[in-house]
C-alpha cells in the first residue's frame, strides 16, 4: 500500500506532516462557476509562471501544531499580563511611561487588526493551499496581538472606557500624529486587489519595518522601565512575527526563482509601498521617542529589512 499521497511520489525524502496536510490541496483553475469575484484564476496576480504549490513555509506549522503552540503561548502571556494588572505591578510603573506606552500599544493594536484584514484577502484569493494557510495562520496571530495589545493598553491607561468615542486607543489610532502615517499605510494596503502586491505592501514593506522596531522598542525600553508586561507582550508578538517574515521571504524566493520578470514586479511594488512604510516608521520613532530607544529601534529595523531585501535580490527604494 502507498505510504503517502500520489503527488509526493518520486521524491527522495518522504513528505512531512505539514506537507501532507497543506500542499497540493487547491481546487484547480477550471472553474465551474463564474461571478464577479470568481474563484481562483492565474491572472488575479501579476506574478507569473510560478508553480504555486511548490511554496513551503519554513515554520511548517499546520492547524494542529499551530493551535497547540498558541494555546501554550496564550497561557504564558495571559498569566503574565493578568498578574501585572491584578497584583498592582502596573500601578508601580512610571506614569509618563504608562501614558506613552499605553497610547502606542493601543494604537498599534489597530494596525495589527488592519494587517489581519489585509492578509484575509491573500487567504481568500491566493493560488496555493500552502500560501493560503500561512496567510491564515498569520491572520489569527495578528488578531491575537491586537486583542492582547488592547488589553495591555487598557491596563497601562487604567482601564477601557465605556464608549467607543472615548476609547483612548481608538483616539490615538485616529488622531495621534505619530500614528497617522501608519494608519494611512494600512488603509492604502486594504484597497489593493492583487494578492501578491498585498504580501509585498504589508509583510515586506510595513511589517518588515514595524515588527523589528516593536521588538526592539518593547524589549529595550521595557527593560529600562522594569515593565515585565510590555516586554512579555513584545517577546510573544515577535515570536509570531518572525514566522510571518520567514514565510514572506520564502514567498519572495519562490516567485523570483520561478521567473526573473517577477523580480521586476516585486521591485515595482516595493518601490510603490516602501515610502509609506518608512514614513510610518519615522513618525512612530519621532512621536514615541522613549529617550532615544525608538530611534535606535528604527535604525535596527531598517538594517534588518535591508538584509532581507538583499537576500531576496531586491533593492532598497531610492527616494532617500
Amino acid at each position: 500500500m502507498p505510504k503517502t499521497f500520489a503527488w509526493f511520489e518520486g521524491r527522495k525524502r518522504p513528505p512531512s506532516e505539514y506537507e501532507e496536510l497543506t500542499v497540493g490541496l487547491h481546487f484547480g483553475e477550471d472553474a465551474l462557476v463564474h461571478t464577479r469575484v470568481g474563484t481562483w484564476t492565474l491572472d488575479n496576480t501579476r506574478l507569473a509562471n510560478v508553480a504555486w504549490e511548490d511554496f513551503r513555509d519554513p515554520a511548517a506549522l499546520h492547524y494542529r501544531s499551530w493551535v497547540a503552540l498558541q494555546a501554550g503561548a496564550e497561557r504564558e502571556l495571559g498569566a503574565t499580563l493578568d498578574l501585572a494588572a491584578s497584583a498592582g505591578f502596573v500601578d508601580g510603573l512610571d506614569a509618563g511611561w504608562r501614558r506613552e506606552m499605553g497610547t502606542l500599544t493601543g494604537g498599534l493594536a489597530f494596525a495589527e487588526w488592519g494587517v489581519a484584514m489585509a492578509l484575509q484577502y491573500v487567504e481568500r484569493f491566493c493560488l496555493s493551499s500552502a500560501i493560503a494557510q500561512s496567510a491564515q495562520l498569520q491572520v489569527c496571530d495578528e488578531l491575537r496581538h491586537a486583542q492582547r495589545a488592547l488589553e495591555w493598553a487598557d491596563a497601562l491607561s487604567g482601564g477601557a472606557s465605556a464608549s467607543a468615542a472615548e476609547d483612548p486607543a481608538r483616539q490615538a489610532w485616529m488622531e495621534n500624529p505619530a500614528l497617522q502615517p501608519l494608519r494611512r499605510a494600512v488603509e492604502l494596503a486594504l484597497t489593493l486587489t492583487d494578492w501578491g502586491e498585498v504580501i509585498v505592501a504589508v509583510n515586506l514593506c510595513l511589517e518588515g519595518l514595524l515588527q523589528p522596531f516593536q521588538r526592539e522598542l518593547h524589549l529595550t525600553a521595557a527593560r529600562r522601565e522594569r515593565d515585565m508586561g510590555t516586554a512579555m507582550l513584545g517577546r510573544h508578538c515577535w515570536i509570531d512575527e518572525e514566522r510571518h517574515l520567514g514565510w514572506t521571504d520564502a514567498f519572495l524566493r519562490l516567485v523570483i526563482d520561478a521567473d526573473p520578470a517577477n523580480r521586476v514586479t516585486l521591485q515595482t511594488w516595493y518601490d510603490t509601498h516602501a515610502p509609506a512604510a518608512r514614513e510610518a516608521l519615522d513618525a512612530l520613532a519621532a512621536g514615541f521617542p522613549f529617550g532615544g530607544v525608538a530611534a535606535d529601534a528604527a535604525a535596527t529595523a531598517r538594517t534588518e529589512l535591508a538584509k532581507r531585501l538583499a537576500a531576496a535580490g531586491l533593492e532598497e527604494a531610492t527616494d532617500r
Binding site: 503517502t4 490541496l25 481546487f27 472553474a31 467607543a164 485616529m174 488603509e187
Partner: protein, 469 residues
Amino acid sequence: MSNQTAEYTRTKRLYWEPSYVAKEAIYPPANYEGIHFSDWDRWDDPFHMSFKQYVEIQAKKDNGFHPARDAFDRYGGTDKMDPRWVEGMKVVYPILFHGEYGALRSHARVSRYAPAPALRAAAFYQSIDELRHSQNHVYQMRMFNRHTDGFANWAEWKRHHFLLQPAKMLFEDIVACENVFESVMGLNILVEVAYTNLVFVGIPSVGVLNGDLAGAGEFLTTQSDETRHMAIGQSTLRTLLEGDDRNLPVIQYWLDKWFWLLHRIIGCPLGVIPDYFAKRKALPMRQMFQRYIVDNYVAGMVEDLGKYGLQPPRFLDDAVAEMEDAPHTLFRTLFQYKHMLFNKMFVPTEADMEFFGEHYPHWEERHGAFWDEVRAGDPKDLPSLPMLCQVCQLPCVFPVPERPTIRGTEWGGEVRWFCSDGCQWIFEHEPERYSKAVGLDRVLTGKDVAQIREHMHLSGKLGGVLEEC
C-alpha cells in the same frame, strides 16, 4: 462585564472608519448589495469568542481526537472496518474536504468584507475552524491510504473526476458568491444548519455499526465547531429579517436556491452511504432526510422565522418526493461507471434488498429489474459519461433513469440541459453565473474508456467490483 465579554468587546473595538481612503474602497458595498440594514454595529456574535478562549478550547479538542485516531489505527481498527464502508468513505472524504476548504476560503472573504464588525470577527473564527476540519479530513485519508487503494490521488480526483465535480461546483459556488450574505446563507444556514447534523451525526451513527470509530470521532469533533457556525447563520438570518422588510425576497431566493443545491449535490448522493455502503444499517436515508432536513431544519426555520414572511423552500416537495428513489438511482448509475471510479461498487445482497423493500415501497418496481439483469450476467457498464446537468454537474437521471425529468433552456445560442426543475430555475435566475461551466461529459465527448480514465487520473487497478461484500 465578564472576562469573556471584555475580551470579545476588544475585537469589536478594533473597527475604525477609514479617512485616508474612501470607506467604500476598503469595504466595497457591492459585497452586500441588495441587503438593507441601518446599524451594522447592532449585529452581535452570540458566542463572544476571544482568541485566548479559542485556542484553549480547540487545543483540548485536538488533544482528545488525534490520539484516539492514532490508537484506533495502531490497534488494527482500520483493517477491521467493513470493506463496503471503506469504499463509501473513498467518496465521502474528498467531498467533505471540498466543503471545508471552500468554507475556509469563503469565510476569509466574509471576515474581510462583511459590513458588520461582529460578523467579520465571527467569520474569522469560522474560517480557521474550517482549516481544522479540512486537515482532519486529510488525516483520515492519510490513515486509510496506508491500508487500501482509492485514496492515494484524492486531490487530483477532486479536480478531475466526474464523481467529484458536483462537490467542486457546489463549494466553488459558495466561494464565488458576490454577496457575502449569500455565502452566509448558503454555508451557515443550508450547509451547516440544515445538513451538518445529517452528515456529522446521522452518518457516523451508521459508521460505528460498520467499525468506523475513527470517523465517528472525527465527525463528532467537527460537529462541535459547527454549533458555533450554525449560530452565526441563524443570528445573521434573524437580524436581516428583523432589520428590514426589503431583505425578505433576497433571502428567500437564496434559501430556496441553496436548499435545492444542497439537496441535489449533498442530500441525494449521500443517500448511498447509509443505504448501500453501510452493510449494517440503521435508518434509511429517506427517514434521515425526513428527520434532519424536513422536521428539524425546515419545520424549525418556518416555526421560528415564518412570522417575518419566510416560506418553506420552494422545491421542498420535489426534494421529499425524490428521496424515495435518489439513493437507488445514483447507486445504479455509479455501478454502471464502476470501470471509471476510484472506489469499488458491488451488487446489493439479499439482506440489502430486504431492507429496501421494507423502507422503500417502490424499490422493487423501479429498481429491482436492473439488479435482476446484473445478476443474470449483464455488467451494465457504459462506455461514455452520462449527460451532466449544467448547474449541479450530476447525471440527468432523476428521479429514475428510465424516466428522467430532463429540462432544457436556450441560452447564448445553445440549449443547456438540467436534471430538474430546481436546477433549471436557478440557471434562469443567474445564467451568467452558471452558463460557462463545461461539464466533463462535454470535455470527454468521443473519448474511449482508457482515455477517460487517463483524463480523470485513474491508475490501472482502481474501480471495479468489490468481491467481499
